[in-house]
């Protein structure tokens, strides 16, 4: 009979390629929250998220914006006295929420990631305007004006790529990617 994993075990298993101790090692010291430059924008601090994972509060963890506000700067990971790669855990939560389609409460990060993967699968390289343009209306009217002025400035300085660059072996790259995950349309 298949054993059902607890939420804590599921999250712990997401560290698979990382050189990290499991979340169970957490002593709740709060150094991760203290070093985090984005903590002011998180509904729950990294320390609190770990406590919630350990308490099995799956819904509250997945509904929080905490892991999408993580900038992946690894300040927490290198400071943790228990050797927990907290930033890797945030990545793990992002993937978990995407798989389970629990991401809709905080859609921007998830949407951006999916768009990014589709872009790379198609062209092999990133293309900034293609990534940023769909979101220009999300930053308010003044934000949009700022965005337009910045884009025009970059254009004038020759810093805005007008077309995406497609690598020569894009087709075989797509086949490589398909061996791992069927993303971005059929190869």
């Amino acid at each position: 009979m298949a054993r059902t994993l607890t939420f804590e075990q599921e999250i712990a298993n997401l560290f698979y390629a990382m050189d990290s101790n499991p979340v169970q090692a957490c002593i709740q010291c709060g150094i991760c929250s203290g070093t985090c430059p984005a903590v002011a924008f998180m509904q729950h601090s990294p320390r609190a998220i770990i406590a919630m994972i350990r308490a099995g509060q799956k819904k509250a963890v997945l509904a929080s914006n905490t892991y999408w506000a993580c900038a992946s700067c690894y300040a927490c990971s290198v400071k943790c006295p228990q050797g927990i790669d907290v930033a890797a855990m945030m990545y793990g939560l992002k993937r978990y929420s995407l798989w389970r389609n629990h991401y809709r409460t905080v859609p921007l990060g998830a949407d951006f990631s999916r768009r990014f993967v589709r872009l790379i699968t198609k062209y092999g390289r990133s293309y900034e305007p293609g990534l940023a343009a769909p979101y220009v209306l999300r930053h308010g009217f003044r934000g949009l004006l700022d965005e337009i002025r910045t884009a025009l400035g970059l254009l004038r300085k020759g810093r805005l790529p007008l077309l995406p660059h497609r690598i020569k072996r894009a087709e075989s790259l797509r086949r490589v990617i398909w061996q791992i995950l069927p993303v971005g349309g059929r190869a």
């Binding site: 992946s72 700067c73 300040a75 390289r125 900034e128 300085k157 075989s172 995950l181």
Partner: protein, 290 residues
Amino acid sequence: MKAYSYFPGCSLERMAASYRLSAAETARALGVELRELEDWNCCGATAYFHIDELLAATLCARNLAMAEQEGLDLVTPCSGCYKNMYFTRAHLREDPDLAEHVNTALAEDGLQFRGTVQVRHLIEVLVQDVGLPEIKKRVTHPLRGLRVAPYYGCQILRPRKGREDDEQPRFFEDLLTTIGASPVDFPLRDRCCGGSLIVTHRQAALSMAYALLQDAIDHEAEVIATVCPLCQVNLECYQRHVNRTFGTNFGLPVLYFTQLLGLALGIPSQRLGIGKELISPAPVLARVGG
């Protein structure tokens, strides 16, 4: 002339064109040959890891496998690409099952990862392999008195740990001193600029950039030097957004370390891509004859 495989990264194609130009010029002037990998692909940035870790590792491994065919260590000027490829190499070397899985996929492109080449950041190569004494010998236009905030950012230092160089790094300050500039005390020098959040969490990203800019200004920096295209774009191109959001009036130029190094080596500013900024460094550089 020592040769390396070279991975410029997507940003350097246009957005960070001045980094591409100045990296090429300074490397050449210091006797470093950078051979760009043919047909390299995106390293996956941060967004690929959100979808699948194995997929992200595979993207990096393709570039590593191509560098192995050349038999040359892989150098990149982008901190994000550096971190991704550095750790992919480490993970795949430690985990043969993972490597086998990745290699099955890479076979579709006729490639194989073996883990035989190192991953280096450009600043590491210049400081460690060329060496500061050698650089000092070649400085013809020292940037005397230029007050520079050395901005390390995150991905060049972390998540490596257990090395003094990562907790209390000095190499950027030392390089600036070598070219005659004055590195300012910059307490937030290794704090994240928020670049990866600029699209998905604008408010957080701007607030993180604001903290850094304010810190640099408080310590009387005239220019911020960076080692990463994402940091440069976030701190420079979004400075206007920071000013409006926080009611500040910053006008702090943000240059690549290769641009300052190039000036000190006597390379004309135009060949270093100076002039492509949204916040002109011309008034500051005029003072040191740049």
